[in-house]
């Protein structure tokens, strides 16, 4: 696949996040959004007057509000500005980042603000997710977004004991990271010696997917400001360059599972990673990237998907987990923020991955900053029955010739 044509370089220049929580009853939606907008503008050292356009997104129907982008003008500051609403399910936040990058790269706007939010306590998440299914048939079978199929697949391939330990180890590491991040909705203080106990006693949701593995429903807002190279170099903080991004969709796949090696299922995660890394000349993503902020809705998916994103063939992904190399001070830190199991304001969740990756590159992640230089970062989004977005961020502007 050919490289994306970009008219000019684009950088992330400002990041703002609210505290993520199960309940933000102290504020309404525009007020909550305004908190993150204010923080992002302050981070960039600009005012709303400097913003040319706004892209706004959340899950469709989750709060049962038609045209939330209109209502939220009070909080985004979008009055009189070009605004676009984007909603692509779980990937919404990542699509916001891609769209903002495209709008600036196209030379149509110099500064674009991406606003992702969700206030899940105000609607019905399962209602929203069930509406994703085809109303003519699968909606009548589906309740919610849970499946144990990944656990089954990993157990069959690697044995029950090893698969379960890897998924729980991954989950505990995410919780350890969440405890370092003051914005986390959930940080339990789990320890590795609880592994056997949790594997046995955490209530089952579906198959071997247990309550502790699964992400939450959170309230919160994330804002990321994108600017052209010329503008970015004049901003308050060092720019974080958007190198490339890719979006891959496929048809609804409620009924497709890869349990027969003679009939492999091409997974959008692997397809996206292969394309993106090939066109950027990256042979070994695990060696190239210094951090990966992954959209990991559960411990099982996080553990399994590492294999797809890093283009591993065998059990390299499990070894990275077992040797704790995915911890903040490990060889391949994954989600120093705590990831999606720490906070999941769905329409913001994938944008949080980009925001956190950018903070790591800038060295501004505070208590969960990786304790060495972060030059190359990867962020992912996941949604629907299988959609993938990947975005690459860079500290230096030295890769155009690649």
């Amino acid at each position: 696949m050919a490289k994306k044509k970009k008219n000019r370089n684009v950088a992330i220049v400002g990041v703002g996040q609210t505290q993520y929580s199960s309940h933000r009853e102290d504020v309404n939606q525009p007020e909550m959004i305004h908190e993150a907008v204010s923080l992002a503008l302050a981070d960039a050292g600009i005012t709303i007057d400097d913003v040319d356009a706004i892209v706004h997104g959340n899950m469709e129907l989750f709060e049962m509000i038609h045209q939330p982008d209109l209502w939220h003008v009070l909080g985004t500051g979008g009055y009189g500005k070009d605004s676009f609403r984007i909603t692509t399910g779980g990937t919404t936040g990542a699509t916001l980042a891609c769209a903002a990058d495209n709008l600036v790269a196209s030379e149509m706007y110099d500064v674009v603000m991406a606003v992702g939010f969700e206030k899940l306590q105000e609607g019905h998440t399962t209602g929203g997710i069930t509406n994703m299914a085809d109303p003519l048939w699968s909606r009548q079978l589906q309740t919610g977004a849970l499946t144990g199929s990944t656990g089954y697949k990993m157990e069959k391939e690697f044995g029950e004991e090893r698969a379960n330990r890897a998924a729980m180890m991954y989950r505990i590491i995410m919780d350890k990271h969440a405890c370092l991040n003051p914005n986390s909705h959930r940080s339990f203080g789990l320890d590795f010696d609880q592994m056997d106990d949790l594997m046995e006693n955490s209530p089952r949701l579906v198959g071997d997917l247990r309550l502790i593995h699964m992400c939450s429903q959170s309230d919160g807002c994330c804002v990321v400001i994108f600017a052209s190279e010329k503008k970015a170099k004049k901003m308050a903080k060092p720019p974080v360059w958007v190198r490339d991004h890719i979006t891959v969709h496929r048809e609804e796949t409620f009924n497709i599972f890869g349990f027969d090696e003679n009939y492999p299922v091409p997974m959008t995660h692997r397809f996206a990673a292969e394309q993106l890394f090939a066109r950027n000349g990256i042979d070994s993503p695990v060696d190239y990237f210094d951090v990966f902020e992954m959209y990991d809705p559960s411990g099982w998916w996080g553990a399994d998907w590492m294999r797809e994103f890093f283009l591993f063939e065998n059990d390299e992904h499990l070894k990275l987990i077992e040797e704790k190399e995915i911890m903040i001070d490990g060889k391949m830190p994954i989600n120093p923020s705590g990831g999606v199991t720490a906070a999941n304001p769905i329409g913001a969740t994938a944008l949080v991955r980009v925001a956190e990756a950018a903070l790591q590159v800038r060295g501004d992640a505070g208590g969960h900053q990786i304790p060495r230089d972060v030059n190359h970062a990867l962020a992912s989004g996941f949604g629907g029955t299988m959609w993938t977005v990947l975005m690459m961020l860079e500290r230096e502007l030295n890769w155009q010739g690649v």
């Binding site: 144990g148 579906v206 497709i256």
Partner: protein, 394 residues
């Protein structure tokens, strides 16, 4: 005794009878166990709108046993520990039927601390024990100060808080020249902290004295969050107004010609797929085009109706179905079936007969899962629900 909250585990069990609500226990005939580690075991038996709580060694016949430590158990009961959080983190475990345990919540009114008489000395100890955790770094930015509390009389003592770089360290000590020193009687200070007396009243009455930076003394209410006595609930600062809305919307969807054939087929006890003319894969349900080859898929193929299970997703937790508002009984089996005539991943999604969900085998590579057959509804309307479920084909 729960050290953290100053309430005995026994108090919670001993007050169960007076807190019992027979209307919440209607139709319940079950025993529930409580294994409070390091304290003891209790058994609650509920039948015919009556209850009995007793200490018991054997909790074998209980439908659900709660296993936790004293602090967590008391904390959850008095609302100071978030039950979901304790549950998620493994501090609060349930062995047995979680749903059944949920019923007990309706059977009892909330536990209210037995108003244990705390002495002035108890309060003073508790206030200083919680001072560091009540510290609000956001409101102490840039502060580099020492605050000495000279609490006089019975139950008193002298403590000094050192605030620097956004941290607060409290020591039971007297230091030379603190930034500010407060001198007050123990009983008066307890009254101030519990909000019964205003500090300014004490000062003007000469019952308290401030030495040093008095403006700092006035900021103490911001630097530390309000003291909450053990067993008391924090009062929200403001009443939050919430509006509840229920939206109910009817939908009508056109099936299109292809899905229409599929649904019509179900009405006639037939399962219909279609086959891509380019790649040869079957689509089930049939689709207008093959998404991979981007070509129209003409014609239909009948498959099944028998097949073998590829995956049996056993759901232990069911969200309420937004289409009906009902919650399915759990556990249930959400299965993918490779119907006869299909191959690879061309599976069909449906439900498994509930009493058979633990009896079936799943597929893996060459190994085939358990054979199943559809059970059809008597009155079929052209819906996926025309198949009630699949059952083992014995």
């Amino acid at each position: 005794m729960s050290d953290q909250f100053g309430i005995k585990v026994e108090e919670i069990f001993n007050t169960m009878e007076e807190r019992f609500r027979p209307e919440g226990a209607e139709g319940v005939d079950a025993s529930y166990g409580y294994d409070i580690q390091g304290v003891g075991k209790w058994k609650l038996t509920v039948k015919d709108g009556q209850m009995k709580i007793e200490e018991a060694d054997d909790l074998g016949d209980c439908v659900a046993v709660t296993i936790t430590d004293a602090d967590t158990f008391v904390g959850v009961n008095i609302g100071q520990v978030d039950a979901m959080k304790a549950f998620n983190s493994g501090k609060f475990k349930v062995d047995g039927d979680l749903g059944a345990l949920g019923q007990t919540a309706k059977m009892f009114t909330k536990f209210v601390s037995g108003k244990k008489e705390m002495t002035v000395g108890d309060f003073i100890q508790d206030m200083f024990a919680t001072l560091e955790e009540r510290f609000q770094p956001k409101n102490a930015e840039g502060l580099d100060v020492t605050i000495t509390y000279d609490i006089q009389g019975d139950g008193g003592g002298c403590w000094t808080a050192t605030i620097k770089d956004g941290t607060c360290v409290l020591k039971e000590e007297r230091i030379e020249k603190p930034t500010v020193r407060l001198e007050v009687g123990a009983a008066d200070w307890v009254d101030v902290m519990l909000g019964k007396v205003d500090a300014m009243t004490l000062l003007s009455a000469g019952k308290a004295a401030i030495e040093g930076d008095s403006s700092l003394a006035l900021k103490l209410g911001e630097i530390f969050s309000k003291y909450i006595a053990p067993g008391e609930m924090a009062e929200p600062e403001q009443e939050l107004v919430r509006l509840k809305k229920v939206i109910s919307v009817n939908h009508r969807f056109a099936t299109g010609s292809v899905m229409g054939k599929f649904l019509q087929g179900l009405k006639n006890k037939k399962i219909i797929a279609n086959k891509c003319p380019e790649c040869g894969r079957l689509q089930l349900p049939p689709r207008e085009v093959c998404a991979v080859c981007r070509v129209r898929v003409p014609g239909v193929v009948e498959v099944g109706p028998k097949g073998h299970i590829t995956i049996n997703d056993i759901a232990y937790y069911a969200s309420p179905d937004p289409l009906t508002g009902e919650t399915r009984e759990t556990p249930y089996g959400s299965v993918n079936i490779l119907l006869d005539g299909c191959k690879g991943n061309e599976t069909f999604w449906h439900l498994l007969r509930r009493d058979q969900i633990f009896e079936v085998e799943e597929s893996w590579n060459e190994k085939k899962g358990t054979r199943v057959r559809p059970v059809w509804a008597e009155n079929r309307v052209g819906s996926i629900k025309d198949i009630l479920y699949f059952e083992i084909d014995k």
